[in-house]
Symmetry: C2
Subunit: 333 residues, 2 copies
């Protein structure tokens, strides 16, 4: 894009910190502000908070209002999965004239679940001549952008299914715990009931595919079930015995008068033998696409967000989804 | 897009006719003009030329200048693989104020091979506030849009390879002949020398990937070799004996100081056992993507062109590549 892209990082959790490290490795980009409410991070140089060697001169601040007075080309936002939680944060970015790319799962396709809020955000973006966009690997890529892209060589689409199988053994301990590895079935179900075991984004992907490919569905529903370990599994961090919970199988279906039109399935469990992302389109022609091994969750989400920076800056104003934005890898912005 | 999209079809060969049939099956779209220089087609109703049951009321005309006086939202162009052959056709479409989507292989990424002509077309499009775009399955999708899309979840890209293996046994006789099936090796090589055995588009895809992913290459080179039949192969149309040519292996390499950075390989031969499209990105993370069975050439090219109609109409003016255009299936325009 020629001149230096100025970025404000909003939220410096594990994903936000990884985003900062990736941005720091790029040319033609400069981080000009950093926001996080964690008192342990406030006042520190961003480099120390994210684990970079050289100080950036940018101090992490809990005061979003002040940081957003800094002119910047885009805010990279990574604070929460829930759109209602981040509404005010996003509106403040937009009304201060900043483009936004966010890893907020519900922002990837908020039009069905939050129509009023989507309208409010879209209008705020347009009024301020900036773009708002949510992306990541899932939602964002595997069950959305990649499926849409594959459908571009279809003459007709009848039914779409996507299955993502992640071997949680190879992921961090928090993820292994988050999917319920090592729990009893009853404990798993009570954690699901309490909303603590849940991946966010499947209904968003379903809505995006349905609306994006003009597949009529009158219901989008979701189930969360345990995957039971069929043999003992030992990971770097924990041990799951045969008969205990190995992880989660979350299925989101889009149906039309009871007939299944969309089937999105996410399996994340320790000891998964064939991790892969697989998209099937039933149509003309029938198409199957597979990424053996699957797309790495954290690496890919961070990449998707950072690679969205140039096209989001160039996009037309408003709330834009991955259906609207052409995507690719950027070495230089 | 709401109101009816008006289309002029420019070129009614096998691909053009297939495009017309697909468009005729869509809602919210109307063909308002048809151009072809073939005297056998001129003056006939378009429906008869392409094999539709109901007459369209649109007569095929060899007079492009006259047909292009018709107001339309887009011209769908399918006449030749060579950009220099279609320069005047495209300029006429643009200067009469028409958006254009074309299956011309060299138009998919003309910036490296035809920089001056690219500039001329880009300027003509911008001057007339319209968009010009070339696409298809290959070039356009397998070695370009799909590879770019996959790279959007990469933090770093070092090397890209794409291999497309097509089982020519299942394709039409002209294609089986076009790949040299049944020839002796010396006949094959003389046909290659005469430029008659050659798939168009690999250097275009290589240029698009190199420029699109900022992979520096100082040379893009192409080789065309025969695939020899290792056993007798009988197709619906012809018989190839062991030791005869079964088809073609075309390889396009992008190198930097002799080091291979891009490897694009197209194998089209009768009796191919494992037809598939496979993309490998070496980077962070390493990624492999496979479409087992491969993407059907004709079906997919027609779909890609027709599905490009809505985003090309909505795009900013100028010469745009698949890197610029978000793609997906459209049931309704």
């Amino acid at each position: 894009m020629g001149s230096t892209v100025r970025v404000i990082q909003y939220g410096i959790g594990p994903i936000g910190a990884h985003i900062v490290r990736l941005i720091a490795a790029k040319k033609n980009v400069q981080i000009v502000g950093a926001i996080d409410i964690d008192p342990a991070k406030a006042g520190q140089d961003l480099a120390r908070v994210v684990g970079l060697e050289e100080d950036t001169g940018v101090m992490v601040s809990p005061d979003a209002e002040e940081v957003l007075r800094t002119p910047a080309d885009i805010v990279v936002h990574s604070t929460s999965s829930y759109l209602t939680d981040v509404r005010e944060q996003l509106l403040r970015c937009l009304t201060t004239g900043h483009n936004v790319v966010s890893s907020c799962e519900e922002l990837s396709y908020p039009l069905r679940k939050h129509p009023e809020l989507s309208k409010e955000l879209d209008e705020a973006a347009k009024r301020n001549n900036v773009t708002l966009h949510g992306t990541g690997v899932n939602p964002g890529f595997v069950m959305d952008k990649l499926a849409l892209t594959l459908s571009s060589v279809c003459q007709r689409v009848e039914r779409v299914s996507v299955r993502r199988i992640v071997d949680a053994s190879k992921r961090r301990l928090p993820l292994q715990k988050k999917v319920g590895a090592g729990m009893s079935e009853s404990e798993f179900r009570s954690q699901v009931g309490a909303g603590r075991i849940k991946h966010h984004g499947l209904p968003e992907s379903a809505g995006l595919i349905a609306d994006g490919m003009n597949i009529e569905v009158d219901e989008i529903s979701e189930t969360i079930e345990p995957v039971m370990a069929s043999a003992d599994v030992t990971t770097e961090y924990l041990r799951v015995k045969r008969g205990e919970v190995a992880g989660v199988r979350q299925i989101c279906k889009g149906t039309m008068r009871g007939e299944e039109k969309l089937h999105l399935e996410l399996q994340m469990y320790v000891g998964a033998l064939d991790p892969a992302d697989t998209i099937r389109i039933k149509g003309t022609p029938d198409l199957t696409l597979t990424i053996p091994g699957g797309t790495h969750g954290d690496l890919a989400t961070v990449a998707a967000v950072v690679n969205a920076i140039p096209p989001v800056i160039q996009a037309q104003p408003g709330l834009k989804t991955v259906a609207d934005i052409p995507v690719k890898f950027y070495e230089v912005f």
